[in-house]
């Protein structure tokens, strides 16, 4: 199967690989997927006092499309407010990366990862 140049670019030069301190109240962590399904994404956001995502990091176990999807969304959500980030749709990710039908689930997982990270962040804020 041929990969799009966007997928190859993100796979070979992934943006924002890494880990943020998950204990930090301003860090939200999303861990989605399952090892048995061959895809696991960990997406973390660091939100400032204005509600803007000032940093985002990811780690992904999966195929090139899964890695590219998560790398791409870390780029997209940086600088966005939490509300803006939560509107990112898997179809936009899939379209940007030119994912074939069999790889659409990778973009869905990336969307889920953003939501999970935001939910984790909001949960912490409520508790605080």
């Amino acid at each position: 199967m041929a990969y799009s140049t966007e997928v190859i670019d993100h796979y070979e030069n992934p943006r924002n690989v890494g880990t943020l301190d998950s204990k930090d109240d301003f860090v939200g962590t999303g861990l989605v997927g399952a090892p048995a399904c061959g895809d696991v994404m960990k997406l973390q956001i660091k939100v400032n006092a204005q509600g803007v995502i000032e940093d985002a990091k990811f780690k992904t176990f999966g195929c090139g499309s899964a890695i590219a999807s998560s790398s791409l969304v870390t780029e997209w959500i940086k600088g966005k407010t939490v509300e803006e980030a939560s509107t990112i749709k898997n179809t936009t990710i899939a379209h940007h990366l030119a994912l074939p039908p069999v790889k659409i689930h990778c973009s869905m997982l990336a969307e889920d990862a953003i939501r999970a990270a935001i939910q984790d962040f909001k949960g912490k804020q409520k508790a605080a």
């Binding site: 090892p35 048995a36 992904t60 999966g62």
Partner: protein
């Protein structure tokens, strides 16, 4: 672009140039129909086909008259299994096979199941081999055929053929083996192993694609019902005009394999061990799938924990390998062979099949090991599972949502 290093010899092998040379005349000058009995064109083509049949037979210690040419191992397997089942269906209706067989064997059995036959799919142990006690227990008065592959196409393990053959012969049951991955790689002997039917594929042993053979024992005689009807060629078991160039190609491939097997076996084992050692020295948490000893030297199937197989293949694109992670397939299910060994799904997703063969060099092996180590390390740095593993978190303790 320079071509990737070919490390997928279980998928197919390049046609040996010596094989091609032997084939060429039969496309042009020697174009006769080997079944034409009335002129020299036919006689010469027939001579070539019969000489090829001798060479194939000799490689497996068989009577040449007991060999028929087919289009490949898929056809041979279909013909052997369905052919025996249909011929003897009045008396017996039970077949024993195994969970890790090639799809063409499993699907032939599924077809027979729909027709009313009973099939036993033997499980395999974690090393990929069947348990002979399970085989003995599965045999009934109604068992007509045992079909167990010689060498597995994914994990390269060699089933205990002589032992299976002995059990079958004692119980008066036919023994068929899909030997597509074995012939030309390890010594095969239909007499010593009591094999009644044996499938061969030319392109797995440096011959052309589109031709194979089926051995059908004559003493004691095994009867099969043909899949197709025609003019009675190949003793009625496989009618249709034979292709002399393809038959000659298979024959030549067998002759070369016969002459070179001992030295090639030893050479590949050195290469395989060299590669495996380099990988095990360079990386932690790499697991071999399938038995190391009962295995052809040209195969390794390795799980690189916490790195997904398809993702890894993308990073080593200058190596032509295949993966047990079926992420490329529509089903998204990992390899059924690895699952049958009891390999956990998450580990099955991290597997690569590496196949070495006649044209593999030491330089290629070293380069391949180096590239794989580099890429596995890169991807592990990117893997949340590897991170958890390093932190001592058991990934099984996490409640994952299936998707």
């Amino acid at each position: 672009m320079e071509r990737p290093i070919y490390l997928d010899y279980q998928a197919t092998t390049p046609c040996d140039p010596r094989v091609l040379q032997a084939m060429l005349p039969y496309f042009t000058a020697e174009f006769g129909n080997p079944h034409s009995r009335n002129h020299a064109y036919g006689w010469r083509a027939e001579e070539a086909v019969e000489a090829a049949r001798m060479k194939v037979a000799s490689l497996i210690n068989a009577d040449p008259k007991a060999l028929i040419f087919t289009s490949g191992a898929t056809e041979s397997n279909n013909l052997a299994i369905k052919g025996v089942a249909h011929f003897y269906q009045e008396k017996k209706d039970h077949i024993i096979t195994c969970a890790t067989e090639h799809k063409c064997v499993l699907n032939s059995c599924r077809q027979l199941e729909q027709e009313g036959f009973k099939i036993t799919y033997l499980p395999v142990d974690s090393n990929g081999l069947i348990d002979l006690n399970h085989l003995k227990e599965a045999i009934t008065e109604k068992t007509v055929l045992v079909s167990i592959m010689a060498v597995n196409n994914e994990i390269g393990v060699i089933q205990p053929l002589a032992e299976i053959g002995k059990i079958c012969r004692e119980r008066g049951i036919f023994f068929h083996t899909d030997a597509a991955q074995a012939v030309g790689k390890i010594p095969m002997d239909v007499e010593a192993m009591n094999i009644d039917l044996l499938s061969i594929s030319a392109h797995k042993l440096y011959g052309p694609k589109g031709v194979g053979a089926l051995y059908v024992r004559r003493k004691p005689r095994v009867r099969i019902q043909s899949l197709i009807n025609g003019g009675g060629q190949e003793r009625g078991m496989r009618p249709g005009t034979l292709s002399p160039p393809l038959c000659v190609g298979l024959g030549e491939a067998c002759a070369i394999a016969s002459a070179e097997m001992p030295s090639e076996y030893a050479r590949l084992k050195v290469l395989r061990d060299r590669f495996y050692h380099a990988i095990k020295t360079g990386l932690e948490e790499v697991y071999l799938n399938g038995d190391l000893e009962q295995r052809i030297p040209g195969n390794l199937n390795l799980s690189f924990a916490h790195v997904e197989g398809e993702g890894l293949m993308m990073g080593i694109k200058d190596l032509a390998v295949s993966s047990g992670s079926a992420c490329t397939s529509a089903s998204l299910e990992p390899s059924y062979v690895l699952r049958a060994l009891g390999v956990e799904e998450e580990m099955a997703h991290t597997s690569l099949r590496l196949g070495f063969g006649r044209f593999t060099t030491e330089e290629e092996i070293d380069l391949a090991a180096q590239k794989i180590i580099k890429e596995v390390n890169r991807l592990r740095e990117m893997s949340p599972l590897w991170e958890m593993n390093r932190e001592g978190i058991d990934i099984k303790s996490i409640k994952w949502a299936a998707h």
